[in-house]
């Protein structure tokens, strides 16, 4: 597998160097592997931090900036960061109003963020609230698994909740809003190909030319089932149906994200979005806002995911509020 890297061991460090060089609006702590805003947020604002394994870019570092995150902790590719990174970020960004940790529901991420929150409150008295995202409908049996995985809603949540924090809402309100956004969204993803972790050097799983994996997570974890390759229209149906079966999206404005897994061209994502939009309209779902592109990726995996958020006027207002990050930018 050909990779645009110097050395599999230094991918993360080299990428952080590139991020800092490319974006003067960001500051990188190379020792702790944390991406910060260049200009610290004002005192009194609730700070938002997130983090996770690398390989999902632009998530999370690409969402650091005005209107979204204050800091992002980067782990090795597909490996959660460690509590000392999150604790350091928590101390640096706290402006006295407390810190919200945004955590995707993966066992390692949850445990490391839990330890960080314990350390931060014991050692520095900083108020920390955590929200764990778990929007992946592909996981059907939540009782006997580690539960639904946190995927696409994380992007929408960081935008909406980031805007609320920017307005000066307090930690309790910001955390409550974050949980409400998570509870109101569902996602489903699929893979046309595997991804290749640089350190492994070979594809994570084998997927024959004529098959696709429905319901994959963002590390190529197995999904619901492996099925014959189908048209974009049929794929859209297989993604949207389980989402609509899980939550009623009628009677409210919806925010829809058609997300690329990293290895599928934008033109194909638009083909898929056209089909998704049609299916939603037919099901009586009003799409108020949409986002099409690569936002929460799985290295070079080909495929896509759909996220639908049941919004309200307040969520739309916060969605439309100005944002200035390397991954999302409008209204500025």
């Amino acid at each position: 597998m050909k990779k645009l890297i110097n050395n599999p061991e230094s991918v993360l460090a080299d990428a952080l160097t590139g991020i800092e060089a490319a974006h003067p609006s960001l500051r990188v702590d190379h020792v702790n592997r944390i991406i910060y805003r260049r200009d610290p947020a004002q005192r009194g604002k609730v700070a938002l931090i997130s983090g996770g394994g690398s390989g999902h870019e632009p998530l999370h570092g690409g969402f650091v900036g005005f209107g979204m995150l204050d800091a992002a902790c980067a782990g090795e590719v597909f490996t959660s960061p460690t509590p000392d990174q999150m604790q350091e970020a928590t101390q640096v960004v706290d402006g006295g109003a407390g810190v919200l940790h945004i955590v995707k529901n993966y066992t390692g991420d949850v445990m490391n963020f839990e330890m960080a929150a314990e350390l931060a409150s014991v050692e520095s008295g900083i108020k920390v609230e955590s929200v764990v995202t778990n929007d992946d409908v592909a996981v059907q049996d939540s009782t006997w698994t580690a539960g639904r995985r946190g995927v696409g809603v994380t992007v929408l949540l960081e935008k909406i909740v980031g805007a609320a924090a920017e307005e000066g809402q307090d930690l309790a309100s910001v955390a409550a809003l974050a949980r409400k956004v998570n509870d109101s969204a569902r996602s489903m993803g699929m893979a046309l190909t595997s991804c290749t972790v640089p350190a492994a050097g070979k594809p994570t799983f084998d997927l024959p030319e004529d098959e696709m994996e429905m319901g994959v997570g963002i590390h190529g974890e197995p999904g619901r089932h492996r099925v014959p390759l189908a048209s974009a229209a049929e794929i859209a149906e297989q993604l949207v149906d389980p989402i609509l079966a899980d939550l009623d999206f009628t009677g409210a404005p919806a925010i829809v994200m058609l997300n690329g897994m990293g290895g599928t061209p934008l033109i194909e994502l638009y083909v898929a979005y056209g089909e998704v939009h049609k299916i939603l309209a037919k099901a009586g779902v009003t799409v108020a806002r949409s986002l099409v592109g690569n936002y929460i990726t799985s290295l070079d995996m080909a495929g896509c995911s759909v996220t639908v958020l049941r919004a309200d006027d307040e969520a739309l207002r916060l969605w439309d509020a100005p944002v200035n990050t390397t991954g999302l930018r409008w209204g500025i």
Binding site: T79, T82, P83, G108, M111, W144, T145, A146, R149, E221
Partner: protein
């Protein structure tokens, strides 16, 4: 019947032997993890225990709680994933339970290990049969406690603990994983050993060897 104590040197020897074992078995642990996880358990444990031995070698430790606090924090900050917090919490809780002492008598050793296990449960919420490190660690400690309550030496108790940990590891093979990333495989996780139970068996193999060497 010998009821000797476990010295600080023996505890360091335990950690050192655990480091050697995870380094030797790095490929094996990763292979187990490729089947039902994300293929990094060997590399992560090796990296973590290397960091631990570097830290312990550089700073030394004046007491049992200091030693285990260093081990726990080093694992937590160097391993990542789920293994870092789980093994890290295990040693942090052991240190808290042991306190600022220079050696552990058999009941104190059992109590410290038990506190470590309770930390693992608090962190990971695992139960018997979830196909996790708990399935090796819990029977190991039951066996160790049973021997200690009979008045056995730490070395004899560690022999029993190691045997029980190996049995516990083997018993994970037919189980369906209910925790961690392997749980998403559902029935596809049947037939494979749990990598965490395998590294836990190495932890007790190391304890067994360290205490055997030190037993007169």
């Amino acid at each position: 019947m010998a009821t000797g104590t476990v010295t600080l040197d023996q505890l360091v020897a335990w950690l050192s032997r655990f480091h050697e074992l995870v380094t030797e078995q790095r490929g094996y642990l990763t292979e187990l993890d490729s089947a039902i996880g994300d293929a990094d358990h060997g590399a992560n444990m090796d990296r973590g225990m290397s960091a631990v031995m570097e830290k312990v070698g550089a700073t030394g430790a004046g007491s049992v709680d200091e030693l285990f606090k260093t081990v726990g924090m080093t694992l937590v900050t160097s391993v990542g994933g789920a293994s870092g917090p789980l093994y890290g919490t295990f040693f942090l809780r052991m240190g808290l339970a042991a306190g600022p002492v220079k050696e552990l008598d058999p009941p104190s050793l059992g109590a410290a290990l038990r506190a470590g296990l309770e930390g693992v449960v608090a962190r990971g919420k695992a139960e018997t049969g979830d196909k996790t490190m708990f399935d090796a660690m819990s029977p190991a400690l039951d066996a160790l406690d049973a021997k200690i309550s009979e008045g056995s030496s730490p070395g004899e108790a560690a022999v029993a603990a190691f045997a029980a940990a190996e049995d516990g590891r083997e018993a994970t093979r037919p189980l369906i994983a209910r925790k961690g990333r392997a749980s998403y495989l559902g029935e596809r996780s049947i037939g494979y050993l749990d990598p965490g139970a395998a590294s836990t068996a190495l932890l007790f193999q190391a304890l067994n060897e360290a205490l055997a060497e030190g037993t007169p």
